[in-house]
């Protein structure tokens, strides 16, 4: 795993912390849907936070493909590359 990916994952985890109860452990393999007790709307709200943090657009069809934090991180990297 690249340094970049680790950083992105760390930032995602930090953003998530604002939306889930304290004390829930989150790792790269955590399932975003179903794994955190967030409902579908709350997940989409969290995705807006991610878009703003990384200054990218993550279209909803891309969101639907993402299961884990590691996958979200890879999607962010890919979207950043195409945005530049």
């Amino acid at each position: 795993m690249t340094n970049n990916a680790t950083n992105i994952e760390a930032e995602i985890v930090e953003l998530l912390a604002h939306r889930i109860p304290a004390g829930i452990h989150v790792s790269a393999q955590t399932q975003i849907v179903g794994g955190l007790g967030l409902d579908s709307v709350a997940i989409l709200d969290f995705i807006m936070d991610v878009e703003d943090r990384f200054d990218i657009s993550i279209p909803l069809d891309r969101v639907a493909e993402v299961q884990t934090i590691a996958e979200l991180s890879r999607a962010i990297e890919a979207l950043r590359r195409t945005a530049n």
């Binding site: 939306r19 657009s57 909803l60």
Partner: protein
Amino acid sequence: MSLFSKFDDMRAIIDSLVASGRNPFDMRFERILSATEALLEGRPCLLFGTNNYLGLTFDATCIEATVRAVHEGGTGTTGSRIANGTYCDHALLERRIAEFYGKRSAMIFTTGYQANLGLISTLAGREDHLLIDADSHASIYDACKLSAAQVIRFRHNDPEDLAHRLRRLKGRPGSRIIVTEGIFSMLGDSAPLREIAAVKREMGATLIVDEAHSLGTRGKNGRGVCEDAGIESDVDFVVGTFSKSLGAIGGFAVSDLPDFDLLRIVCRPYMFTASLPPAVVGSVTAALTRISTDKSLSARVLSHSGRLYSALAQAGFEVGPEPNPIVALKMTDKETAVRFWNRLIDRGVYANLALPPATPASLSLIRCSISAAHTEAQIDRAISIMVAVGRELRVLDPRPAKTPVHLTRSLPI
């Protein structure tokens, strides 16, 4: 894994709801007594969860028009307008809606859901971008799923955020299509359309506004929040429904764009479903005449809304940010919402139980809708029952509150 095991969570939710009272997804009214009362569990119950804003479901002229239409045109059209053709009355209703909005053309759909599905999914092609308010109705979300466009949500009622997200798309090909609503169906808040229209102009985007809950309830002529905001000429498409203020079923879209009618031969949710039956077309046409000629209906629903809203806010409930014909009461949690909803029915008031994920910001709500057909006595009775239940369940302090609390979305960051 059985075919239905993916719904195990839903089954568990229903089971727990039933264990603590009634099943909110399977409420059965023995008889509808009027626009504002029904028989439920053998007793008359006040209806505060109908979206029957102008109370036209039992309007004498609408019923008469329905009966006449069914005698003249039969019970159904038995097919789509593409295959079975258009009845004169479909065309007449489309002309009347276009005239009502002062727009060049109108298209009617079999439901409001299909109007959104059809318009949005057809207009937004592969290269295009849909920017939708985060609190959009399910029909708008489903339209996005059916569309090949890229879909971006913007923060609820936040024109700055919308502008920011549009700027992020700079340099990409395709049209930008903004979708928002006049009044939002859960909290009853209205969109800042003047500011959104300004963003639309600045960015050269297209604007669609769903006035499902604001047709007939807002605007000097009942043309909704767009009319109130004075931005009707900035709106490329207004979408709406016949199922609320007009008391029947069906949906529509209106536009000034010259190519609008092309949609009739490319819009699948218009082409591949049966058209509205004569009875419905007749009653909607009559209802449209009623609301155009009788301004007292909208005045009444707004005055009733203000009465219910202020009394409940004064009593200490956390209510939506403005008094509209939807008044939402925030409950502390799901369990309290369920108990509250059941207690209201025990005492003869039917409102809507609205739980996440059908609600914004994971709120648990009791959602009331107000009708011009309510009497002041009915409104006051509902208020006193809601306050009594609020005190009983400790949603309200047993002592009355001094400053009303207004509910806005509380975002964690």
